[in-house]
Symmetry: C2
Subunit: 380 residues, 2 copies
């Protein structure tokens, strides 16, 4: 008998048993009072997690679908938008925006860094943009952006702030309303610790106004239609909702709310501190810039001559801990440990133990348990 | 303790316990050998069920997303297409095609009827179309189209035959390759008896050629990108796949293949015959035209003065059997009993019993067990 592998990736993440079981209940039809009750609860819980009074829409899709929905619902072909990119997912949003004919100006920073809000401020002085796209947490590098600071710049301007929070929501604090974020996109399989297949968007009043004026072709992602169905006395969806996933997510949100949002953020902060402490105690370098290090994922620079792919493979196959390697240009150069969602102290200890063993296996000399000791000191 | 309600709707349909449980297994990451193995099996099983050698693509989305994918991948704005409509879902495809700027000619037939293939043949002589959209099974009316006959007309022409098989595939025979269907779209929650949230498209060589030339804006639904990822040595998806739903569908397909496709079609035919026999024995009329009656759903005309919504409500709330009412213009006028997927003789008997009791409750005089007797005679 083999133990289940530990899923320390930046999504899909581990799903609590109660969440898995909620998805396994007998099917119900989506035009019944039972479903409306579920959907009503989900919508309420989503608002809590999104820290918003705005409606939060649910689409059966991967998070990338949510990003596409943000592009086609709030903008029209030719609209000038500023797409900030701090990695793969920022690049993806820019590509989607271009695919739908938006006039994209891209603002790219060196990998591992966050966007300097002052640069956004200057850009907005130079040009009129209809929207700014920002990745909250960039899983490809382990860096995150300061949404609060960016929100201060855009809040009272005639511009939409669109935040890709696919890998952050429920792990990093994101005060949607307070910080003035117009559209927040997330997905079910990251810090929300449910199976993949659902994406969610919150939309501010400014966002709804923009949606009324958007001429981009759309049907499936139409947020106005989704909102109308959702605001019926018995809330519904325009098309068949992914009932079992909705149940799973609803259960997961209940668990998060039960723990308390602030407690959940604190737990993620502790997981990150412990992971970073372990990595540095092992003599390795963190990839993300000091001020930009995310609490939901830690990216580790591989030392000269050590192939990150080998370390990853060794950790997975020999020690049962699944992590992620570098993507695109970073392949082999970094190792990424996700610590978002259903992750606790014991998982970090186990992961660091596997990392230590794998490093020794690939010929990198470290002293065993040095990383674990550093991690434990954070938790104590 | 209450018994679970019987889900006799045209989707989501009842999910076999083994399929629910497959979706509840611990999460795995989608860039692992375990996932590639699952995806490889799924792709193989999908080909069997689709009766095709063509690649079958999987997207996390409702079936409507699959319809949108068919519009944006194989056509360009301005392309002339013939959208046949025999009900709500045919209308929907036409609306999607218009939303993406296609030049839509709509061919509508009276509700309850199928499209006469000869009319399609004539239309194609009058005009050059790039594609014909046909609904295989129209759940809103209980009628189905003769895809084989339509395929004979389009097969050797420079035109794509696109079939919405969302509610039929796995219940009605659809010989994709033999009948020359270029694109078949289906979804997980109908005859495939899995939870909703996945849509699937098979694409012929003619379809792939058209995809190369399509200029419609697209990103999430891009079939070329999906195919490339799928045909890697370790099959993948461009974006995070809905792992738990994939597992459920794969399990469901295994069950269908184990029973045998022909046996599954025969079972559906028997379920339909029994339901129709019961309905007629009760003195009620079937809504769909005799030649167009589908084997996956039976639509029943409500007698003068009987409100279908009341019958539906009574069956659901008092007798625990969930059916569907009429949509749009047919609201209150028909009752629809889905018998697709995980449905067997006992479910039909239970449904007819509930129908009989509900009819009596709402004041329609019938003799008890007359419908059940007629149904049993079909099964014997």
């Amino acid at each position: 008998m083999k133990k289940e592998k530990l899923l320390m990736t930046p999504g899909p993440t581990m799903v609590p048993p109660a969440v898995l079981m909620a998805g396994g209940e007998p099917m119900i039809h989506h035009r019944t009072p039972e479903y409306s009750q579920l959907f009503r609860e989900l919508n309420k819980n989503l608002k809590t997690i999104f820290q918003t009074q705005n409606p939060v829409l649910t689409f059966p899709a991967a998070g990338t679908g949510g990003l596409e929905a943000a592009v086609v619902n709030f903008f029209s072909p030719g609209d000038r938008v500023l797409c900030t990119s701090i990695g793969v997912f920022g690049d993806r949003v820019a590509t989607i925006a271009k695919a739908f004919g938006l006039n994209v100006e891209k603002l790219t920073v060196p990998l591992g860094e966050a966007v300097d809000p002052r640069i956004i401020e200057e850009k907005l002085k130079e040009q009129n943009y209809k929207g700014v796209f920002v990745t909250h947490n960039e899983t490809s590098t382990g860096a995150y952006n300061d949404i609060e600071a960016i929100g201060k710049i855009t809040k009272n301007k005639d511009i939409l702030l669109i935040v890709d929070a696919v890998s952050s929501l429920g792990g990093l604090d994101l005060k949607t309303d307070e910080w003035g974020v117009d559209v927040v996109i997330t997905a079910s399989q990251k810090a929300l610790m449910a199976p993949p297949g659902l994406t969610f968007l919150s939309v501010s009043n400014k966002g709804w106004e923009a949606a009324q004026n958007s001429t981009s072709p759309k049907f499936y992602w139409d947020v106005i239609k989704a909102r109308k169905a959702m605001e019926k006395p018995s809330p519904q969806n325009p098309y068949t909702p992914a009932v079992s996933l909705l149940r799973s997510v609803n259960k997961a949100l209940e668990l998060i709310i039960e723990e308390g949002l602030q407690e959940v953020f604190h737990r993620h902060s502790q997981l990150a501190k412990a992971t970073r402490a372990a990595v540095e105690a092992l003599g390795l370098k963190l990839f993300a810039a000091p001020q930009a290090r995310s609490n939901v994922i830690t990216s580790i620079k591989m030392p000269e001559g050590i192939d990150g792919e080998k370390v990853k493979k060794q950790m997975a196959e020999k020690y049962g801990v699944i992590t992620a390697g570098g993507q695109e240009d970073l392949k082999g150069k970094i190792l990424r440990i996700g610590h978002m969602g259903y992750v606790h102290e014991g998982d970090i200890i186990q992961t660091i133990a596997a990392l230590e063993k794998a490093l020794i296996d690939v010929g990198y000399p470290i002293e065993k348990a040095v990383g674990i000791k550093a991690a434990l000191e954070v938790f104590n």
